[in-house]
């Protein structure tokens, strides 16, 4: 979660969970109850309050962030990924069923004496968003089945949405 100076583009604050020794990047557990999936997987709401992180810029200090967001899927879901047909390190080493989505949210945080709040009247909005289900790695064995999903190959990404 980055805050930039308008005009210069300089990063003023960087709220992050950091990178774990395992290599897990900027990922932190949140309560299961914070996430609500509804409308057959086409909507997701999340409400997280006072999540401990660090503010890495300009110096590392303990911080908290809160965010409330909504994803709304659009159109039909499509099956994505190539599963075990590609090496595990390949970007397509997953099988999923995803909607293109729109997301909006409000954010706030605190680090020491610094606090911020995103504009509640003009919520932050997505430039790109997607929402769906997927399987990766060792859990690819029970591959996603979705007979009704639109299908497309790697050669025509985004064709369903006219990107």
């Amino acid at each position: 979660m980055d805050l930039f100076e308008p005009g210069s583009g300089s990063r003023f604050h960087d709220f992050t969970p950091g990178v774990a020794p395992s290599g897990l990047v900027w990922t932190v557990p949140i309560p299961d109850a914070a996430i609500v999936v509804s409308q057959g997987g086409k909507r997701l709401d999340v409400d997280v309050r006072d999540l401990p992180v660090i503010d890495a810029t300009p110096a590392e200090v303990p911080a908290t962030v809160s965010f409330q967001m909504t994803w709304r899927g659009r159109g039909r879901a499509r099956q994505l990924g190539r599963g075990t047909a590609v090496p595990p390190t390949d970007a397509a080493a997953f099988l999923g069923r995803f909607f293109r989505a729109r997301a909006r949210g409000t954010f706030s945080g605190a680090a020491g004496s610094f606090t911020f709040q995103s504009n509640p009247k003009r919520r932050a909005r997505s430039l790109f968003a997607e929402l769906g289900t997927e399987q990766t790695g060792a859990l690819l064995a029970g591959a996603v089945r979705c007979g009704g999903c639109a299908r497309s190959g790697p050669g025509d990404p985004g064709s369903q949405y006219g990107w």
Partner: protein
């Protein structure tokens, strides 16, 4: 497709564990294979894994967001976020199966 290579802060696992959620049993998921990195889907290349955790089966939401924010002192900022949520079943490093929810911030 952009592969984001990470070379910044290493934070002790204690920070993540300190945020233990109600259903979280303390077993952290494994990263996406290939080292400290993740993939960045969209807007044109969708054949890209959006999850920040490996060995996962569940719901994933990803959004690249842009907005405005104001500091407590009135200073105005531009805000850019890559936010991802994962909720479902995952394997820990020892291969054991767990359920939980995670935010990539």
């Amino acid at each position: 497709m952009i592969v984001r290579r990470v070379s910044r802060i290493l934070v002790a696992g204690g920070l993540a564990l300190a945020t233990a959620a109600r259903a979280f049993d303390g077993a952290m998921p494994v990263p996406v294979p290939g080292g400290a990195h993740l993939f960045a889907p969209g807007p044109t290349d969708l054949q890209v894994n959006p999850s920040s955790i490996g060995d996962f089966d569940g719901t994933v939401a990803l959004a690249y967001l842009k907005g405005r924010a104001k500091g407590g002192d009135g200073h105005r900022f531009l805000m850019q976020d890559d936010m991802r949520l994962m909720t479902g079943t995952y394997l820990a490093a020892d291969g054991s199966s767990h359920s939980g929810s995670f935010a990539f911030i």
